[in-house]
Symmetry: C2
């Protein structure tokens, strides 16, 4: 009586399997970088055999792109969801709250930053794809929301504002071992996240 798939979703179980693989891939790629992440370890984490990965994804490169889709998709949902609550406050306070929201989202998804740093120094196809598919839309959304007002309306300062904001907001959550060993503060603690959100918001919108 087991394994009777419905007519409408014969592949529901396969979708779940595929999803588990992608989730395991996100962790592996973020923790170890593209080359060092092993498809065997990803399969093991997802509870499947390595051969199945080539059924759902052609090769390691395709799996990486699926992982990137999930990382940026989750991020987009998180930010957009929190931004729908329209704020009737001053532009400065609105920008500050956007930045605090941004910091909290980064804290919840440190894998995002490592994805970018691991890939961002390679002038290759994957970087072109990542920027065109995911990073540019995010950049334009942040700009339209007024989060980059720190550039003072000078378009030439936008790149510096973007990477300064991203680096200031996110680095601490991507190197928790360094931060904890160095300062005793664990950046995964909720209080540390709020403290960093307040600090960065005050820094960028004084």
């Amino acid at each position: 009586m087991a394994k009777i798939p419905t007519k409408r979703r014969p592949a529901a179980h396969a979708d779940a399997t595929r999803s588990r693989i992608v989730t395991a891939a996100v962790t592996a790629f973020a923790n170890r970088g593209f080359e060092a992440a092993s498809t065997r370890e990803i399969a093991r984490q997802a509870g499947v055999e390595q051969g199945l990965l080539t059924y759902h994804f052609r090769n390691k490169d395709s799996l990486w792109r699926a992982a990137a889709d999930q990382v940026f998709g989750t991020l987009r949902e998180g930010v957009v969801e929190r931004l729908t609550a329209a704020m009737e406050v001053s532009p400065d306070e609105r920008a500050r709250e956007l930045i605090r929201t941004y910091v909290r989202t980064m804290a919840a998804h440190p894998e995002f930053f490592r994805f970018i740093v691991d890939q961002g120094h390679r002038f290759d196809e994957r970087t072109d794809w990542l920027v065109d598919t995911h990073i540019r839309p995010a950049f334009e959304m942040m700009n339209q929301l007024g989060m980059l007002r720190v550039a003072g309306g000078d378009e030439r300062k936008l790149p510096h504002a973007l990477f300064a904001l991203l680096g200031a907001s996110t680095l601490i959550f991507s190197v928790p071992a360094n931060c904890y060993r160095l300062t005793g503060v664990d950046p995964r603690d909720p209080e540390a996240i709020e403290a960093h959100a307040d600090f960065v918001a005050a820094l960028l919108i004084p």
Copy 2:
């Protein structure tokens, strides 16, 4: 008549070989991370055979520490050298100039940031060693120089100030492919470096 070593420095040539290996290792570890960097590729870049690496360094871990010593040593020299020129200006302007110097040094050595990010999320022996040996002394020097005045004298804000400064100053130089593809600005250009130094200095010391 070749290969007549002097009495005092019989190993001068060996030292040069060792140094070439370390230099190649710095590049490899920064570009690809600890696991993905291969000792064979490092040996090839240094113009030696792989077996020689275990003569000069016990294993990959020891080689990584030697590479870290070189990265942080170079950085320390660069910063200290530039700071000896005492500045008789206001504390604010002095802090700004220190931060500009810091940004320029980071731009000249993007491998520093990738060393930290690649290692900083692992709670292991290497992180403990890196923090205790290199990061903490650098942190204390920055604090004593007044570069973390953005914390406003509040000791609890120091961790946030440190990682915000480091991230804001350095990220852009560590992801040049992202920045160039996204904005058209190549952060390796001297004008871009100066623009970022000015931007970050103005951001942290308004």
